[in-house]
């Protein structure tokens, strides 16, 4: 796969992830549902694993996190853009670390117990890792300073909050991996128009709203 195709892949998957965080995440939040847990356990894990299955390249999920986090910064629908954007950026990087020793052909993940286990581990560490990173970086970036005692006092809650995403991940990962049998590859002449079109839609929708509401 050439580099241009790879970058287009990062663009489309990162944009879809950011778009779902902004639009679906906001509606879940309005309904009082555990937005972060659902967004990570379901959406983030789905996009991250599909991209890994499809592109077989290191660095892709990190790039997706940067892109999705950037899109989240423009989200006009709910507040705390900075906290969530930092968390999403960290989530992509943490996913890469968790999956570092898993081969790109995913041959280790054939047994269902391995799929469920990786779902639990991935969703849990991606979620609490993002949470911890945002607790550290948000006060620093916003200029108020980071106090380690604040993080330590809240650690039990952070560790506890990863349980729901872990359980969601346990169900989602085997389902996502079962789609390996489907051939979803696009023909070359359709690849760039489709990926760029989807990415453009995501950015225009979110950023356009931001300009309208600003």
């Amino acid at each position: 796969m050439n580099n241009l195709k790879f970058i287009a892949g990062i663009l489309v998957f990162g944009s879809l992830w950011g778009f779902s965080e902004c639009i679906i995440g906001s509606s879940l939040s309005e309904k009082g549902l555990p937005t972060g847990a659902i967004m990570t356990g379901f959406f983030a894990i789905t996009f991250l694993v599909i991209s890994r299955m499809t592109y077989h390249r290191p660095g892709m999920q990190f790039g997706m996190g940067i892109l999705a986090g950037s899109l989240r910064l423009f989200n006009p629908f709910v507040g705390c853009h900075l906290c969530s954007a930092l968390a999403i950026m960290a989530e992509g990087a943490i996913f890469e670390l968790v999956w570092y020793k898993i081969s790109f052909d995913l041959k280790e993940l054939k047994p269902i117990t391995m799929q469920i286990s990786m779902g639990i581990i991935s969703a849990y560490f991606v979620y609490i890792g993002g949470y911890i990173v945002t607790q550290i970086l948000t006060p620093i970036v916003s200029g108020s300073g980071f106090f380690v005692t604040n993080l330590i006092a809240f650690m039990p809650n952070i560790l506890s909050s990863g349980l729901i995403p872990a359980l969601i991940g346990a169900v989602v990962l085997p389902i996502v991996l079962s789609t390996r049998k489907l051939d979803l590859r696009l023909k070359d002449k359709l690849y760039y128009p489709t990926t760029l079109g989807i990415s453009a839609f995501c950015w225009i929708f979110v950023v356009g709203y931001w300009f309208i509401l600003a």
């Binding site: 391995m114 286990s117 039990p156």
Partner: protein
């Protein structure tokens, strides 16, 4: 035959679930239920805070918020050199954030025990406040 990864990954997953379950039990057991807010070591009811304080409306990126100015809450609690301290705002679930006076004086405490600041990230908008510690 199972490989090393096939043995270790399910064990890690189980450990992760146990950490999640035990920390959930710990958090539930350690929720602090109280109807006063401790400020500078003294307990105040919300009624006291509102009757002694100065109400203020601030503009945030989630719209206008009204409550008692934190500036006057701290002064009324008997803190002398307000500018000399940092202030840790603690919630009943263990969440806490520390701010300096320049940030604190811009904030408010609402009648549903949440603090808001006009110019900070939302992570500083602590809910269910039970204490403001003067450091």
């Amino acid at each position: 035959m199972k490989t090393g990864k096939e043995k270790i990954i399910p064990i890690i997953a189980m450990v992760v679930l146990l950490i999640g379950i035990f920390s959930t039990i710990y958090v539930d057991a350690n929720q602090i239920e109280k109807d006063t807010i401790k400020i500078n070591g003294r307990d105040f009811t919300l009624n006291q805070i509102f009757s002694d304080g100065v109400e203020r409306t601030i503009e945030t990126d989630e719209g206008e918020k009204t409550g008692v100015a934190l500036e006057y809450i701290i002064i009324n609690a008997g803190v002398d050199c307000t500018n000399c301290h940092d202030y840790t705002i603690k919630a009943k679930d263990g969440y806490q954030q520390t701010v300096n006076w320049n940030i604190l004086k811009t904030g408010i405490l609402t009648d549903y025990e949440r603090v808001f600041f006009p110019d900070t990230a939302h992570s500083f908008w602590v809910r269910d406040v039970i204490e403001i510690e003067v450091k």
